[in-house]
Structures are given as C-alpha cells and as structure tokens.
C-alpha cells in the first residue's frame, strides 16, 4: 500500500509524527497558565481536596479503581503532601457530579496525571493552611511544623480541622507550592495495604454487581447472531407471558427484557433468543486468511520514524513477519450496570473507565442533555481496557426508560461479554533488518492494525454497541491515529534501540471487520513481541548473545539498568543454549517510549510430542521512576507478566464467517493455576525521578521472552501467536 499521508515534522534527522488536533479544552484555556497533570483541566483546589472539621480529608479524583490499586496510591500521595495520617484520607473517585474530569483511567497515566495534580494541589493546600495557622497563632509561617494535621509553632498549636472553615480552597491552583523532597517521604514509597481489599475478602459491597437499590428490577439484553443484523420478529407475547416479566423493550433491532427477579430476566431472555428472527449482518473475515484480508483493507499509512544512514556493503539482511490474533479482555465478571431514570434525570452506576466520556456519549445516544445524566463509578472486575462496561451502561439506561423510575440492574451473560466486547485487534508486523560487524545497520518495521480506540467520547460517533441497533441508529466514530509517543496500534512500534538507520510505518486499517478497541498495552504487546523476537533473530545472525546484543545497542543508562538487572536476577549465562526441550529468552521495552522500563526473562519447557509449552519461571525487572507503593507495583508487574503469558500461550478469539465462536471459557481458555509461572520481580526505585505508569509495561517483553525462549529451546521460531500445540508441532516438524 502506498503512503498517502505523511504528517511529519523533521528534526535533527529523526522524523516524528505530530498531533494536529489539540483537545478543545486547551484552546479555551490558552490564555491561562498551563498547570501540570490533570490540574490543567480541573483548576480549583476544592475540586480536589476538602478539609473536614471532623478530622478527615476528602480527596476527589477522576480516576477509578480497576483493581490496579490506584485509589490507595493516590491517597498515599495526598496524605504525604498534606502531612496527615494516611487513615484520615477518604477517597471519592470518578463521579460526574462530584469529581474532577480526568477522562479515561487508561494508558497507565493515573499516577502521572492524577498523582501529579494531587501532589501539587495538596502541597498548595498545605501552604494555605500554614498561612492561616501562622495568622491564627501569630507566628511566622516558616517556623511552623506539621504532624498529622496539627500545626505547631512557638509552643502553640492549631489543627487543620480547626482551620477548615478559615482556609479557603475555593481558588485556582497555581502549582507554585513546592512538593516535599522525596527524602522526606514517609507515606509515599511504603507498601500500604490496598483500601479496597478487606471488603472484597469478607463479602462487603465492593462491586457494581453488589449494588441493590429499593425497587430494583433485573434486565437482560438479546443480541443478534451477527454484527449489524436486523431484528425481523420475535414472539413478544410469549416473552411477556414469562413469569415476572415487567417490560419487553424493543427499539429497532435493540431487544431487552426487564423482570422482577434475576433468574426471571434470564429465562425471559432465553425465550426471546429462541423466537427472534434476524436478517443480514456482516460476515467476518476468513479465519484462515485473516491477516492477509486485514492487510488488503483500506488503510491510512504513516511513517512515524525515519533515520537515514548508508547500509555498509556485505551486511547480512533478514526479514520476518509476525502476527497476533484478536484477543478478548475476558473479564472474570461479565459487564454490569445499574440505571435509573427518574423525573427526566438519568443515574448510571458503571464500571466504565471514563464516567465523563460515557456521560457525553450517553447524552448523544439517548438524546438527553449531559446535565441530566450522572455517571457514578462503581468497581467491576478487572477490565484491562475497553470491555463491555460502557455498552452495558447504555443497555441498562435503555431498559430503565421503560420502567417508570425503577432502577434496573443489568449484568451481561457470559456469552454476551465474549461475543460482543470490543477485542484487542489482530495485528501483523513485518520487519526487515541488517547486521554488519555485530551491529544493526538497517531496520524497517511495518505494522498493520485496526484502531485500538473506539471508546466512548469520540466527537464524530457514538461508540456504544446498543445504540447502533436503535430505530434511530447511531454510528460508531472513525478509526483515528494517535500521536506518538503514546501511539495506539503503533504503540512501541518505534524501536528504542540506537540504530543508525531505521524506518517505522504504521498502517492504520480504517475498516472494522471485527469490533475492536483498547486492550491493555494496545499495540505495544504485539510490536514489542515482534521487535524483540527480531532482535534475537538479528543477534543469531550476528552470532552474539541476545543480552549482550541488546546492551550493545542501548545508550540510555536506565534502559541498560533494567536489562542488566533481569540478566543478573536470572543468572543469565552469555551464550547459554537450550537443550531441545528447555531454554530461556529475554524481552525488553520502555513502555510507550516514555513510561516504565521493563525487562523479562522467561524459561520454557516444551513437550515435543504434545506440542505444549509450559513457562515454569519468569524473572522481571522494572524501573517506574519514583515508586509510590512497592507492593502495589509488584502486584501490577506480576499480574501483567502472568496475563501476558496467558495471551501468548493460549489466547485467540475464535470465529468463522458467520460469527464469534469464543462464547465461554471452554473456547477461550486462559492460563490456570497449575501452569502459572513463578515470577521474581526486581524493582529499581528512583525516588528522585518522575513516577511512571507501570500497569502495561511487561505485556510486550513477556511475549517476546517466551517466544525467544521457545526458539532458544528448540532452534525453531514461532512468529504467530499464540503458541498453540498445532503451531508448536508444525515448527518442530
């Protein structure tokens, strides 16, 4: 395919793409000073912090708990800067009526954006409180000290709680108060236990699934056999006659039921499914040729990095093509929401990653003013990106319209989630490289992918599944490029290695033959898998140990440090060889080029007869800058390693031309307890560096480490994920 667009900015010989569409919010605020993190768009101090006379602090964040521990980490940051005991901090998160608008909780940006805002806002609030205390005590502010909210100076004392009415936080942040130097931290940097865990272990109401409102009804939805199919008919009277049914909702091809009891809604749904007649709908790609078909679709192509240098004569040239399949988020809980429409006002309890974007999109889908909708975050199970959370919120809202002020709780069934969630896109990566004198002298990387971002909040479409089936059908937004360094399908596509010559091209597939959106780490998982697999192929071509080969191409000290740390932890032996069955491999990346540095070494055991691959052990190292909560970081890193091992060894969405075949865990198997590797994690703390997002850092390196370990063990390489027995046997044949 030809390059049609090259929105490029040339500088110092390196070509980078640039973003031409700054968010409107910045345009409006151009005249005001820029503020760091999420303070820029949420400038009032009392939008973040309230000092309560009862001796507590309420902290508001637009980010939400997804099982990643963010609410605990943010509370630590707030308590640290305010100089109060951690236990005094109450957190309110992601509620369109109460909290700052921080967009999506995604991209491993919460510590960077919300954490930065809270650090600065709390430092400033502390300064304001000290000024008030100085006035009250008649002492210079500089001579005051604070311990757990009690301010002391010249033998006199006053507390934050006494100053609560006096200290006016109803003002714009200036971000000029200096946060504490890290050497003085006593709360940040500690493994404080997660605040949400005790309730989850004892049956407390912890999830949106656990909400019960007075008069609550239960809803279920009926989906077509294929995307885009039309509902021709169904036996409405038979569904209505089912026990407990309160409403049967049909709007165009959207179909749902509401019943008194949950099992009644489930039974009514079964009757609706059995009697519904559908027509049309789109065919899916041929699974046997899916990558070729995807690459033949309309694409918008961009060169996102380019460096020119001559290739020496006699360089050894190799090339390879890698693939990853469609992957499901496969949350352990099918998506769930509660909605209530009362007096024209819609309330939605949702585990969406972005309550504000969801509200904006619900408003357009339902024809309501955004001000009449309140979206309140309540935890779901881990989502790992854009799953059915937003879609089920829309579905619940449509059902709530039909039942006159009564709240409707709707949890998707297991097959709803597997068949209708937006998948992480299938991707193809082609790499061509050359080595001479032990160095990479040429590198060309091309990645093809559908969009990884069909989230709610799009300005030109309504990205809510159910809305596409209404009589007044809405349309999804278009595929869009995302600016580097974050990127999307091209996340981590630009190699970090110091190559004199390289060219990276992103082919964004504009069509959407299979519904896709954001899955943890977006394109980074596949791009790093390809880059790091190919690095091993180049190392082999050069006859150099993979760890030494990488280090020879890394200049940055922090990058080198994670590779060296993991090699040390795993006791990597230069030139170590597999034995036909067992072997080890390495993978490395700095997530998004600007976030956490992570390296992984995996050990595999291959059963050559059965074609199975087991990963008994993994070592990993991570540098996430300043560590807010070491145990929380370790939990995220280990979880990421294990989830990526599951993707790499087992996972692919199965389908045929007529529909999705992965409908439950039997046809979408994941890694289970007996096969989970042990994980040894080395954290490199850099208290004086910026805290970096870490939740998605190890996905790519883990995939590469496993693929490289398989190659080291067997001498054969698998370039198409996952490492199924068929592929293993074919590779070994």
């Amino acid at each position: 395919m030809n390059l049609r667009r090259r929105d490029l900015l040339k500088s110092a010989g390196v070509v980078v793409a640039f973003s031409w569409s700054a968010p409107a919010v910045f345009a409006q605020q151009a005249a005001r000073p820029a503020l760091p993190g999420s303070l820029g768009a949420n400038r009032m101090l009392d939008g973040w912090i309230r000092i309560n006379p009862a001796g507590t602090i309420t902290v508001f964040t637009g980010k939400c708990e997804l099982g990643q521990g963010i609410v605990t980490a943010l509370a630590q940051i707030a308590a640290e800067e305010l100089d109060v005991a951690y236990e005094r901090v109450e957190m309110v998160s992601a509620d369109t009526a109460r909290t700052p608008n921080e967009g999506m909780t995604a991209g491993s940006l919460s510590v960077e954006n919300s954490g930065t805002a809270l650090r600065l806002a709390c430092a400033e609030a502390r300064q304001i409180l000290l000024e008030r205390a100085a006035a009250k005590l008649g002492v210079g502010a500089a001579s005051l000290t604070v311990a757990d909210g009690t301010v002391t100076g010249s033998g006199k004392k006053v507390t934050y709680w006494e100053l609560a009415h006096d200290a006016n936080l109803n003002r714009e942040a200036t971000a000029k108060a200096q946060p504490k130097p890290p050497a003085q931290h006593t709360i940040v940097g500690r493994s404080i236990p997660r605040r949400d865990i005790p309730a989850k272990m004892t049956g407390g109401a912890a999830f949106v699934q656990d909400l019960r409102l007075p008069g609550m009804l239960h809803g279920r939805v009926v989906r077509p056999p294929r995307h885009g199919a039309r509902l021709e008919s169904f036996d409405e009277s038979k569904v209505k006659a089912m026990p407990g049914v309160v409403a049967v909702v049909r709007d165009g091809s959207f179909l749902g039921v509401v019943a008194q009891r949950e099992e009644q809604a489930i039974n009514a749904r079964l009757v609706a499914v059995a009697t519904a007649q559908w027509s049309g709908g789109s065919e899916l790609p041929d699974p046997a040729k899916v990558y070729e078909q995807l690459m033949s679709l309309r694409s918008e192509d961009r060169v996102i990095a380019e460096k020119e240098a001559p290739v020496p004569a006699g360089a050894k040239v190799i090339e390879a093509t890698y693939h990853r399949p469609y992957l499901a988020h496969a949350s352990i809980a099918p998506s769930c929401a509660m909605a209530e429409l009362k007096d024209g006002k819609l309330s939605v309890w949702t585990h969406s990653q972005g309550v504000f974007p969801l509200r904006a999109t619900l408003a357009r889908a339902l024809g309501l003013p955004p001000g009449d909708i309140r979206c309140i975050h309540a935890e779901g199970a881990g989502c790992y990106g854009h799953n059915g959370a937003d879609d089920v919120a829309f579905d619940a809202a449509v059902l709530a319209r039909a039942v006159d002020g009564r709240p409707v709780r709707l949890q998707w069934m297991r097959d709803d989630e597997f068949k209708w969630e937006p998948y992480g896109p299938a991707m193809t990566m082609k790499v061509k490289g050359a080595v001479a004198g032990g160095r990479v002298v040429d590198w060309a990387f091309d990645v093809w992918s559908q969009s990884h971002n069909y989230r709610p909040g799009d300005a030109d479409g309504v990205n809510l599944l159910g809305s596409w089936y209404l009589a007044d059908a809405k349309r999804p937004g278009p595929a869009r490029h995302a600016a580097q360094p974050n990127g999307a399908g091209d996340r981590n596509a630009i190699t970090l290695y110091d190559f004199p010559r390289q060219r990276t091209t992103h082919h964004l597939i504009m069509d959407n033959p299979v519904r896709t959106s954001a899955l943890r780490s977006l394109g980074a998982y596949a791009n790093v898998f390809a880059i790091e697999s190919f690095m091993d192929e180049l190392a082999a071509a050069a006859g150099i140990d993979p760890v030494a080969f990488r280090l020879a191409h890394i200049k940055d000290e922090r990058e080198r440090a994670v590779v060296e740390a993991v090699a040390k932890a795993a006791a990597w032996q230069s030139g170590e060889k597999g034995d036909g069955r067992r072997g080890r491999g390495i993978g490395y990346a700095r997530y998004k080029t600007v976030a956490t540095y992570a390296a992984v070494i995996a050990e595999v055991e291959v059963n050559r007869t059965a074609g199975t691959v087991k990963v008994p052990r993994i070592w990993t190292s991570a540098d996430a800058g300043q560590i807010i909560n070491p145990d929380g970081l370790t939990n995220q890193i280990e979880g990421g390693v294990i989830q990526s091992a599951s993707w790499t060894l087992h996972e692919q969405v199965r389908f045929d031309r007529n529909g999705i075949l992965s409908q439950d865990w039997s046809n979408y198997p994941i890694l289970t307890m007996p096969d989970v590797p042990s994980v040894e994690t080395v954290l490199i703390d850099r208290p004086n560096e910026r805290a970096l997002g870490a939740g998605e850092a190890v996905q790519g390196p883990t995939a590469a480490a496993i693929a490289n370990a398989f190659a080291a063990a067997t001498g054969r390489r698998i370039r198409e994920l996952p490492l199924t027995p068929e592929r293993v046997k074919a590779a070994l044949a």
């Binding site: 099982g67 099992e263 352990i332 989830q643 989970v676």
Partner: protein, 153 residues
C-alpha cells in the same frame, strides 16, 4: 413457592422456584455479596460456596435441591472484625487485584483445608485449577492459602 434454606447458620425462607440457581437466591434474596456471577456454566468458580462443607458451584445448583443442607458463603466464614484464617491470609498477602474471583478462591481453599490441612503448593494449585483469575494474582493466592494452612496448624 417457599423454600427453607440454612445459610451461614441461620434458617431463611425464600419465595423462589425450586429450579432457581442458588446463586441468585444468595445474592438477591439474602443479599449476600460473596458468591459472584461469572459464567453460570461451572467453568470459572466465582460462585463457589460450601454445601455441607464441600465446594459447590452455586450457579448451577437448584435451590430446591439443597433444602435441608448447610450452605456457607464467604460471609459465613468470618467478618472484617473476626476474619477466618483464609480471609486474614488473603488480606495479609494482598492476594487480589480486582478481587472478583477471591470469594470463589477462598471457598474452594476452605474445602481443601478441611480435607487436607497441610497441603503442599502443588496441592493448592491443583485444588484451584478450575477457579479462574484474570488479573494474574495466582501466586499471591497460593501463598495466602499456604499461609492460612501454616497459621492454623
């Protein structure tokens, strides 16, 4: 029809059809949060409770079939103030990311520890083989079960 159930030591009478899965009666009639809906196909284990001490998938167990039996949910093991050794160990090990699978893991582990109070790591992994965790918290869960077993000895 009215069905009499013994749950967490107390007797309840609920109005439900006998073929109603126990899961929905526990969650909606008795307002117990522990057992979770995950798949309704016995594949994931999120709904696991104890029936007469044995780990049972409540998503496919008709409520009519367990009349007269003793049901224990996560809430019946212990409380925030007086947690069961497994609950305490899961908290101490911070054995959760999202925590949606935790109740099923704990109930299945409780069954294991009843049968085998001093399991080896491989025993724990085998016992939890059919309980799915999506966040990758498996190793912490195993450590928590081993810690609970050790603490109880």
């Amino acid at each position: 029809m009215a069905i009499s159930l013994k749950v967490n030591g107390a007797t309840h009478s609920v109005e439900a059809e006998p073929d109603t899965p126990l899961l929905y009666v526990l969650r909606n009639d008795l307002e117990l949060n522990g057992a979770k809906y995950g798949c309704a196909m016995t594949q994931c284990g999120a709904c696991t409770v104890l029936v007469n001490g044995a780990a049972t998938r409540s998503c496919v167990t008709p409520v009519g079939a367990i009349e007269g039996n003793e049901v224990t949910t996560l809430e019946g093991l212990g409380t925030l103030d007086k947690p069961h050794p497994l609950q305490k160990a899961f908290i101490d090990e911070q054995a959760a990311q999202c925590g949606y699978c935790a109740s099923g893991m704990i109930m299945t582990a409780a069954d294991l520890l009843n049968r085998n109070p001093q399991p080896q790591e491989a025993d724990v992994r085998a016992a939890l083989a059919d309980n799915l965790c999506r966040c990758g918290t498996h190793n912490r869960i195993v450590r928590a079960v081993l810690r609970a077993a050790k603490g109880a000895s």
